[in-house]
């Protein structure tokens, strides 16, 4: 079942002589539960692509359809609510709320949606992420790997259909990186979530089900690795 459809997506910064074509007519689709990696050099347009898919920016042309919804046809308010319910973000530098503890950070997006957090699911997630012992700790009291696991938890907790991860292992050592990717894969399978992840790490890219390469703004589907 198709979850994400990217059609002729382009993004140009500036105009005239100074125009920078960050993304040129990118098109691809992802199925539900698929785990895909985006690779490419720095400045090739990977982050631009990911941000556009997440509705964090507006494209120069093209469309992004998630679960049948053309996200750029939504107004700002609708897009915010859509993002809150359907897309989970994981950042390279974690971006946790420093004053909230682990479990508060994880359930915060649900609170934003004025819903009661599912305590059972929270416990289960903390168990899967290996954070049970750390649930009352502040981010500053955690290691980088633990912080990224909290960020994964936060992205998973509202049960979004799509998880966008921008170099989630960029700030981690190889052991923690492996652990984070294992968790991402495991949880996405367990909860049937689609993951689109930017990475520079060849090994991690190879562990994905599918690899997309962006070079000078042009997207190439390298197909399935496995």
């Amino acid at each position: 079942m198709q979850l994400l459809e990217v059609n002729q997506l382009s993004k140009t910064y500036g105009s005239g002589d100074t125009a920078v074509h960050a993304l040129k007519s990118a098109s691809f689709t992802l199925q539900k539960g698929e785990f895909a990696a985006i690779v490419g050099e720095s400045g090739s347009g990977k982050s631009t692509l990911l941000n556009l898919i997440g509705g964090l920016g507006t494209p120069t042309s093209g469309s992004v359809i998630i679960d049948g919804n053309d996200i750029f046809s939504l107004n700002d308010k609708e897009l915010t609510v859509f993002r809150r319910r359907n897309i989970g973000f994981i950042f390279q530098s974690f971006h946790l709320i420093p004053e909230l503890n682990v479990e508060q950070n994880i359930m915060f997006p649900v609170l934003l949606d004025s819903r009661r957090p599912d305590e059972k699911y929270l416990d289960e997630l903390l168990h899967v992420l290996g954070l049970e012992e750390r649930r009352s700790h502040l981010p500053s009291q955690l290691s980088g790997g633990q912080q990224q696991r909290v960020a994964i938890g936060r992205a998973l907790f509202p049960r979004p259909a799509l998880i966008l991860a921008d170099e989630p292992t960029g700030n981690l050592d190889s052991e923690n990186s492996r652990e984070v990717i294992r968790l991402l894969k495991e949880t996405s399978q367990k909860y049937s979530q689609t993951i689109l992840m930017i990475t520079h790490n060849r090994a991690i890219a190879q562990s994905a089900e599918r690899v997309l390469r962006v070079s000078d703004g042009v997207l190439t589907d390298l197909g399935r690795c496995t």
Binding site: L56, F91, H95, F108
Partner: protein, 773 residues
């Protein structure tokens, strides 16, 4: 954690130290509002009691109403007290005498002293029969009367003999008139008035019970009896303060409070908004991240507002305590320090109105102040979180020339963000404008409260017809009294003038050397010496719509007078004819009269009633000794209280300015702390960092001064011309002194403001300064 809004509380607790400045801003705003309203409330309490004491605790007075009809009011309304009251020879212009001195007769009932004019009966009791009378305290001073003495009052209808049964206190009016007053039982008074063939006014003073709608009662009574405004007089002072009438004083007071509150709200909004804005600027990525994980714009706005309101909640108890202490201190200074008419200011009372106003205004201020930062936070794009360029706004290119790099960077930061520059400059300029505009009130106090002038007399001597019968020998006798500081005689004549287009009649008054010396303080143009030393040269006091100019001439009694000087003010109230001042030589040359009409005396410090008695002893019995000391003390206390208010307010503006500048710079640094951290990481040392921040801070200060002066000076000029020049003819000048003060305050604050934040940045580990969120 039940709602996302709990983040506001958790975040505030975590950043308690960073939020202290904002909390302090809120506290200052709330303290100011509570203080202003409490002081108005305390003044209201004080004035209610004072007005009831001074003007009588009555609400309406019925005049020319038949006795039975007037007394029927008891059955028609909730009357607490009422009594008949009448006067005879109030103006002291009829042949009613006590030992050769004119006396005013009052007829009333005992309740007048127990309910209407409490505390007036200072000794003895109300007359119990027709043979007793109360006298005023002045009778003790002038005639040496005692309780039990028999006094004879002469009237055209014959002599009346009374036994003195007590004394009533003097008012500043009775002292200034040197009046004798006798109070008789109302029936006896009627007998005397009838015998003298005088018509009676028959005034019936009424005090209603509390909680009554007096306006409605008055209207009902008027309608029921067909009474007009002539029949029903209102105690405007007492009703006015109760809000039952229109009274300028209390309306003015509320007006001042309203203006002060608007200024405080403006300053508060400015300060709090500045703090919140800087907090938002510092946390751009934080809000971006919240947007990323699904927070809507309205949710972000609610979070920012919630944070601000939480600080308000925390600031309120301390604010109430501080403002009450401030108010009690001011009340104590007014009551015990200044005294006079402020002696009754309540100390140690709590003003619920003040507290309520403070909380309400605090809430409105915070909501207003949080609006812009909340909008700004909500406008943060979620992409700022993922891009990691939270404070990397495009600030244009800095040109590094030969000048010091840190200073060039600091100046660059001033002009980098136009919006920020406008906000900072505007807020600094606002302080300067406020200070300059309000400083005009100093000139107003100096000019309007004339009794404080050097020439204000303590005692004046004259005959009731102001005839020129006071000799220079008397002046010499008075000068020889120990305790007398100055004695000045004045000749006076209201006279026709010829060959003058600007007036037909003038009040010609002579001055001696001392008075000419005093006049120098009010000199607008010309030469006082010319008028003092040359005959035919005169001085004219300025009047609104001035007519006379230097060199104008007029003929009086065949002698030509030339205007040699113009004064901004004179001690004399003009009744339409210009006041012309000349030397004694000029006056005698015109009229040939050598005697004075009025002699003014000033007493030395520490000399009082005994000296006044000595002065009285050298006067003849028919001379009026007008004692103006009490009126002068009252005016002095008003002057002092107004000075406290004006200087206090100026100090408040200066304090807000200092605090606001320190706060703004601190916030500006916090907003750029990552940039500064990065600069430290690449090798900027503490001196360079301080230089850079100081350059930025002074840059804002200088631009604020320039705009503040450009806008404040025309406003000062306009206000000065409206309030001062129009009434006293003093031309506007650039207020160098005030400018110097406020510019120094701004620049010094800007200089000092840079030090704290620079130290904080230096003491912070580089990694923390450049760290995210």
């Amino acid at each position: 954690m039940r709602s996302y809004l709990s983040l506001a509380e958790i975040s505030a607790k975590a950043h308690r130290r960073n939020n202290r400045v904002t909390q302090l801003c809120i506290m200052i705003a709330v303290v100011l509002v509570i203080s202003v309203f409490s002081m108005v409330d305390f003044e209201y309490m004080h004035m209610t009691e004072k007005l009831a004491r001074d003007h009588g605790n009555w609400h309406i007075v019925l005049s020319h109403v038949p006795k039975e009809e007037a007394e029927s009011v008891w059955n028609e309304a909730d009357v607490k007290a009422a009594c008949w009251y009448d006067t005879f020879n109030y103006r002291l212009d009829q042949p009613i005498y006590l030992e050769g001195r004119p006396i005013c007769m009052i007829g009333t009932e005992e309740s007048f002293f127990t309910e209407i004019m409490k505390d007036t009966l200072t000794e003895g009791r109300f007359p119990q029969n027709g043979s007793e009378a109360l006298l005023n305290q002045n009778a003790v001073n002038v005639l040496g009367c005692r309780i039990g003495d028999t006094v004879m009052i002469q009237t055209p209808a014959g002599e009346y003999s009374y036994t003195v049964c007590g004394f009533i206190s003097d008012t500043s009016y009775s002292l200034a008139q040197d009046a004798l007053i006798a109070v008789l039982d109302y029936t006896e008074f009627g007998r005397m008035v009838r015998a003298n063939d005088q018509s009676r006014e028959m005034q019936y003073y009424i005090q209603f019970k509390k909680g009554l709608s007096i306006k409605k009662t008055i209207a009902d009574l008027k309608a029921a009896h067909g009474w007009t405004d002539e029949n029903v007089g209102e105690n405007i002072a007492v009703l006015g303060i109760m809000g039952m009438s229109t009274n300028n004083y209390i309306v003015g007071l509320y007006g001042i409070a309203a203006v002060l509150v608007v200024i405080v709200v403006l300053a508060g909004v400015m300060m709090i908004s500045g703090s919140l804005n800087a907090g938002v600027a510092q946390r751009t990525e934080y809000y971006g991240m919240l947007r990323c994980i699904g927070a809507g714009k309205n949710q972000i706005k609610r979070l920012v507002r919630r944070e601000a309101l939480r600080w308000l909640l925390l600031a309120i108890p301390a604010s109430i305590a501080i403002s009450m202490l401030i108010c009690w201190f001011i009340c104590a200074v007014l009551a015990y320090g200044i005294g006079g008419e402020w002696a009754g200011m309540p100390v140690g009372r709590i003003s619920w109105i003040g507290i309520g106003a403070g909380v309400l205004v605090g809430y409105i201020t915070v909501i207003l102040a949080a609006a812009a930062p909340a909008k700004r936070a909500a406008a943060v794009s979620p992409i700022t979180a993922v891009s990691g360029n939270g404070d990397g706004q495009n600030t244009g290119m800095v040109r590094l020339g030969k000048a010091s790099v840190p200073i060039t960077l600091g100046v660059h930061h001033v002009f980098a963000k136009k919006k920020n520059l406008i906000l900072m400059t505007g807020s600094f300029a606002l302080s300067i404008i406020l200070f300059l505009t309000f400083s005009v009130m100093i000139a107003w106090i100096e000019n309007s409260l004339t009794t404080n002038k050097s020439y204000s007399p303590d005692i004046s001597l004259y005959y009731s017809d102001y005839s020129a019968r006071l000799s220079s020998n008397l002046v010499d006798d008075l000068r020889s009294i120990v305790g007398v500081k100055n004695v000045c005689g004045r000749m006076h004549r209201l006279t026709d003038v010829e060959n003058c287009e600007k007036a037909d009649r003038i009040d010609l008054i002579s001055y001696d050397e001392t008075q000419f010396a005093w006049a120098r303080a009010d000199l607008l143009r010309g030469s006082i010496d010319a008028a003092a030393n040359e005959t035919g040269k005169v001085i004219i006091a300025f009047e609104k719509g001035a007519r006379f100019e230097l060199g104008d001439t007029m003929d009086v009694n065949g002698k030509t007078l030339t205007v040699a000087a113009l004064l901004s003010d004179s001690p004399f109230k003009s009744d339409g004819n210009p006041t012309v001042i000349c030397s004694e030589e000029t006056f005698t040359e015109i009229f040939g009269v050598g005697n004075y009409s009025v002699i003014d005396l000033q007493l030395k410090k520490g000399f009082g009633n005994e000296t006044v008695e000595e002065i009285r002893s050298v006067t003849d019995g028919s001379m009026i000794l007008s004692d103006r000391r009490e009126g002068k003390t009252e005016a002095n206390s008003t002057y002092l209280a107004f000075s406290v208010l004006v200087y206090g307010f100026l100090a408040m503006v200066a304090m807000i300015t200092v605090f606001h500048i320190i706060n703004s710079i601190s916030m500006s640094v916090i907003a750029r702390h990552r940039l500064y951290g990065m600069m430290r990481a690449i090798g900027m040392d503490s001196d360079q960092l301080r230089q850079m921040i100081t350059a930025e801070s002074l840059g804002y200060g200088i631009s604020g001064c320039l705009v503040g002066c450009a806008a404040g000076l025309p406003l000062h000029a306009w206000f000065y011309r409206t309030v001062i020049s129009n009434y006293w003819g003093i031309a506007w000048q650039i207020p160098w002194k005030q400018l110097l003060i406020i510019i120094s305050v701004v620049l010094c604050s800007a200089f000092v403001a840079a030090r704290g934040p620079a130290r904080r940045i230096m003491s912070m580990p580089v990694t923390e300064a450049v760290g995210s969120l």
